[in-house]
Symmetry: C2
């Protein structure tokens, strides 16, 4: 790994993934380990970093990380930066972990019209990695435990909002009466029905969730369909709420890019299509691309790629 | 208890409450036990009934029950009746448990404009018990695990809708990241803030839930306020959705009666007031009153009270 010019680490809550990048910003090596912030005990982050990176870790190679490693529960807090946030401002606000080569990307905080804050940590880097070359303003959707919808352009990240979709699915599936009704199978038609129920005018999740129970009781929904119907209700509620949010930001007809794990993005692309929204899948390893771009702006690596 | 003319049992999922009523329909004795449907094993409902009622149980006294005892998981299934449902139709559809004096009140099923079913079991009896003497059409709100809003008049129950408010609160409080942020204390201002957030135009629960986390992270919400803020968000989302539902039923200016446990009803009355809705508390022991009224219509007890 003598060609390595940057170690880039996507360091989340449950797992960490390290990339070695060469002078062109190409990923030449990649490793992941279950060494997320919640799994590192007694603050032994230095050991975790050494284990994750092995020989590639060296004081001669700059290292940069994004994600929960910069949270209060992480190695060192990289304070939230205000959004709108230019890429240059983000790159100028890296927090160094003392006595290591590691720099941590700050998360972002934004306030809505009522002053209520929203935050992201790690997703800002994925979005920067997914920015397309045209530089036009678009919407970036990152599905997950706490899904993010963000508005971004070549300058940086303009606005964003979070949705508790994945976490709601998890707690309802594991711990509610709906989970007890759900079988292990899957049912695409049930997913579509859930999405369409939530997209309907006047839909209200707190009421519609109960229909997962009543449709099952009435025999309309087989137990194998309950999980997908619940998933569809939640993804549909996210899309309905986010569409209204995008419209308030005058971006209801913007290009939509999905960023994240492929199967989940495909599920979202399908649900978005039911809402009349075309979405394209962003690049794989968006976090590595974003960390490279931030490292370029921070002067850690050359900003002009050698030809 | 020789004056007992009716044994009336509110038999739910976790507990059961039995009332002895005299010839005037007055409760002269009352007992409860943790003998709800989920706690009776191997179908030993007869033993549970005997334990609950003791000497009062006799073949000479009619007995009537409502609630989950009539569900598929209960003693015997009392099939759902279609709503709108007149009290007479409900009283004419009691299901007898073979070889016992016990009759079970059916639950109700209603379908919305899209054909999606909603159900109640036990609440129909509480609503009948809470009906006021004027006979004018009003809204009855029964807060709980699965809150019910119903439209009813002297004839019976016209329409209703369920909201998963209590269950969502439970699973989020116990199992989500929000619960981990929450202290044990209470904070009335945080409850109000949650209600008002959900009542705001454009509010979307799936997004707003995340604000319980960000407001706590930002230090705006103390850990003791997180639980009440979450509760406010959910109760507010229920009220916003139910108000729209009532408006669709041309009842947005109807009288609202709260039925249920007093502290919870007071919490709802306060949240309703924040939404500009005045609500009054219905009678205590609404289930006993409802069972008496149904028993009268079924001819089990005199329909004219002796003077």
């Amino acid at each position: 790994m003598t060609d390595t010019r940057l170690l880039a680490i996507d360091w989340g809550t449950s797992s960490a993934r390290a990339y070695a990048l060469d002078a062109r910003g190409t990923v030449i090596d990649e490793r992941s380990a279950p060494l997320g912030v919640q799994r590192v005990t007694d603050g032994r982050f230095a050991d975790a970093l050494a284990k994750l990176c092995g020989d590639a870790l060296s004081t001669r190679v700059p290292a940069i990380a994004c994600g929960m490693i910069g949270s209060r529960q992480g190695w060192i807090e990289a304070p939230y930066r205000d959004c709108p946030a230019d890429i240059d401002a983000i790159a100028g606000a890296l927090t160094r972990v003392p006595d290591t080569p590691l720099l941590i990307v700050p998360g972002l905080i934004v306030r809505d019209a009522a002053g209520v804050p929203d935050v992201m940590r790690g997703e800002e880097t994925q979005i920067i990695g997914a920015l397309d070359d045209s530089g036009s303003r678009g919407i970036y959707v990152l599905p997950g435990t706490h899904s993010k919808w963000a508005i971004a352009d070549a300058q940086g990240i303009v606005n964003f909002a979070s949705f508790m979709t994945g976490e709601l699915y998890g707690v309802l599936r594991e711990h509610s009466i709906l989970g007890r009704l759900a079988g292990d199978g899957s049912d695409k038609a049930a997913f579509d029905r859930g999405v369409e129920t939530s997209l309907r005018g006047g839909a209200a999740l707190i009421h519609d969730l109960f229909s997962a129970r009543t449709l099952a009781l009435a025999g309309v929904l087989a137990s194998d369909g309950v999980g997908d119907y619940l998933s569809g209700l939640l993804v549909g509620a996210e899309i309905a709420a986010a569409r209204a949010w995008a419209a308030r930001n005058a971006l209801d007809r913007a290009r939509v890019t999905l960023v994240g794990e492929q199967a989940l993005c495909e599920r979202y692309a399908h649900a978005l299509q039911l809402a009349g929204i075309d979405a394209t899948q962003g690049p794989a390893a968006a976090a590595a691309r974003g960390l490279w771009r931030i490292a370029q702006r921070a002067g850690l690596v050359p900003s002009v790629v050698p030809s």
